[in-house]
């Protein structure tokens, strides 16, 4: 009974539906690109370069004659993979840190983690991301690390905030009276109850990850050729924007729609999972 009603309420939230649909389109395109793309993105066809969108090439061709639609599909794969793994890294390290900080409640561990957090926040994320990829070589993996690092403090802070408010709740005191140690309580009681918040934060960081990856590959430090990436398509298109605007408009739209989709889904999720609003509705 509990499961079906969740889906029904999910469909009622307009943001979630629109956002979910948009994001799914790009995820589908990314997955489809593993098995099929209208044209092979690695073969160049310089004779047919800079074609406007037409029947044979739905989104036209770029300055090397490659099919832009196929590039968008494969580019989706890069962007989504980099952003997803960066968020994964952020969550994987940030959440345990946040839980540990909350569990130690003001003792030195909490202070230490929070000071560390403030320090990472103090670093200019974009400059450091560029530094990491420039220093250790530009590649998708380095982009993931560069973006992931700055996700860790975000999740640590969000988790700690939510967990701290839970620690004073009575059902936690009851669990302590039942003899469970802080680690078990964190996993059994705290984590499930902050999961909603983390999912919502996850979608937002995911969309920021896509923007960050686009930024990095725009300055040439993201995924390396021949793997296409939206950011680099933008960078290549920059000089031709005056006579071939579709080269810049289409990747730009792809980034905007994906990020918009994810953010709307995040908003929809927040309304769905936030008990206050859910009770008001049901």
């Amino acid at each position: 009974m509990e499961r079906t009603s969740a889906i029904v309420t999910a469909l009622r939230s307009r943001n979630f539906v629109i956002g979910g649909a948009l994001s799914l389109i790009f995820v589908f395109l990314a997955l489809l690109s593993f098995i099929w793309t209208p044209y092979d993105v690695t073969t160049l066809d310089i004779a047919h370069k800079l074609q406007r969108p037409n029947l044979s090439h739905w989104f036209g061709t770029d300055h090397f004659g490659r099919d832009i639609f196929s590039m968008i599909m494969v580019g989706a794969r890069t962007s989504i993979a980099v952003a997803l793994l960066a968020v994964g890294m952020g969550m994987g390290l940030g959440i345990p840190l946040g839980l540990a900080a909350a569990a130690s409640q003001g003792r030195w561990l909490d202070e230490f983690i929070m000071r560390g957090n403030d320090l990472i926040f103090a670093f200019p994320s974009l400059v450091i991301a560029i530094l990491i990829t420039a220093v250790f070589g530009a590649s998708a993996v380095n982009a993931i690390v560069a973006i992931g690092i700055f996700n860790i403090p975000v999740f640590a802070r969000v988790t700690r905030g939510a967990a701290l408010s839970l620690w004073s709740r009575e059902f936690i005191l009851a669990a302590r009276v039942a003899g469970k140690n802080t680690a078990r309580i964190s996993l059994e009681h705290i984590l499930p109850n902050v999961a909603n918040l983390l999912i919502v934060q996850g979608t937002i960081q995911f969309s920021l990850g896509i923007l960050a990856e686009a930024g990095l590959s725009y300055v040439g430090l993201g995924a390396q050729p021949p793997t296409p990436s939206w950011g680099r398509m933008l960078a290549d298109a920059q000089t031709m924007v005056s006579f071939a605007p579709h080269l810049a408009l289409i990747p730009g739209m792809a980034i905007i729609l994906t990020v918009l989709g994810l953010n709307l889904m995040g908003d929809g999720l927040r309304d769905l999972l936030d008990p206050r609003i859910r009770n008001a509705r049901s």
């Binding site: 403030d118 200019p124 530094l131 220093v135």
Partner: protein
């Protein structure tokens, strides 16, 4: 209040010390050597060695770290390898571009976000709210460098209302300087305004649900009066944090925008120094950015105490 400031000042110093250590030893790992970069393809090994000694690159790392930190304490960041000029001078010139740009963008962002956030909160659920929130969703989704490209195409190349970039320098006239910073500031301000508007709205909505709002209404204040006189000031507190965060982001966040508009700002200096392996400049500028972020956070904390009396008395 004094103890609160003292405690914060102490943690500020510790963070700075740790930051300088992290910055120096992370950046030192960078492969590539500025001397060989400067001497180019045909340089002989001995010429490069000569230049390295001249630049003081052959000294041990810890020694260089100590010189660097020692110098920094009295404002001398050392001399740039490639430009051969004192870094503090270079940074000062660039600061005159990045600081006004960040301030301009922050003002734009606040001027747009505050009315939008308040309007949306007061018309929660109605058309105005939905449209504005849709616009902020879009604002957050647009990559600011793409937006900059489009603006250059329309306003600089086609309509030619603005120069396509470059910075004439403040001595050419204040308004000319502002004019050349307008497009970059707008493209920097767009995502920030969107975020700030959303925070403003949600913070206001939280406050509207509080008990003291009900007391205000019971006293006879209209819905709008209650919002302006009571909810707004309380809603400012979380908004202040975001503004503090945004300013520190804008200072360094302009690195790509400065590229697109070829502004001689801190961001571009860092970018060029990274590719030229002018490590001492990179370290100094990153250190400066970290220092400004920590100082801004410190200021935001003090502003908190000003806005929220509960903090003032407890410390």
């Amino acid at each position: 209040m004094l103890r609160y400031t003292l405690k914060r000042a102490l943690s500020l110093i510790i963070s700075l010390a740790v930051a300088s250590l992290v910055i120096f030893f992370v950046i030192e790992v960078a492969p590539g050597d500025p001397a060989s970069y400067m001497l180019g393809i045909n340089a002989q090994p001995d010429t490069i060695a000569a230049l390295r000694t001249e630049l003081g690159l052959d000294v041990s790392k810890t020694q260089r770290y100590l010189n660097w930190v020692g110098g920094m304490l009295h404002g001398d960041f050392g001399t740039s390898y490639t430009y051969r000029t004192p870094i503090s001078e270079m940074v000062a010139d660039r600061m005159w571009v990045s600081l006004p740009l960040a301030a301009f963008a922050l003002v734009l962002s606040t001027v747009i976000a505050f009315p939008a956030g308040i309007y949306a909160a007061s018309r929660r659920g109605k058309a105005g709210d939905v449209v504005l929130m849709g616009a902020t969703q879009l604002g957050v989704a647009i990559p600011n460098f793409w937006f900059a490209m489009m603006m250059v195409l329309i306003f600089a190349i086609n309509l030619r209302w603005f120069s396509a970039g470059g910075f004439p320098g403040w001595d050419e006239g204040f308004w000319l300087g502002i004019k050349s910073l307008t497009l970059p500031a707008i493209s920097l301000a767009l995502p920030q305004a969107a975020i700030l508007a959303r925070v403003m709205r949600s913070s206001l909505l939280d406050m509207l649900g509080e008990d003291f709002m009900r007391s205000a209404r019971a006293k006879g204040l209209s819905r709008r009066q209650a919002l302006w006189r009571h909810a707004l000031r309380n809603a400012l507190i979380p908004v202040l944090t975001i503004i503090g965060l945004q300013f520190s982001f804008l200072l360094a966040g302009g690195i790509i925008i400065e590229q697109v508009f070829f502004l001689p700002g801190l961001g571009r200096l860092v970018f060029q120094s990274i590719s030229q392996r002018d490590l001492i400049v990179v370290e100094s500028v990153v250190m400066l950015l970290v220092f400004s972020v920590i100082v801004v956070n410190f200021a935001v904390d003090l502003a908190y105490a000003a806005v929220d009396p509960r903090l003032r008395s407890r410390s």
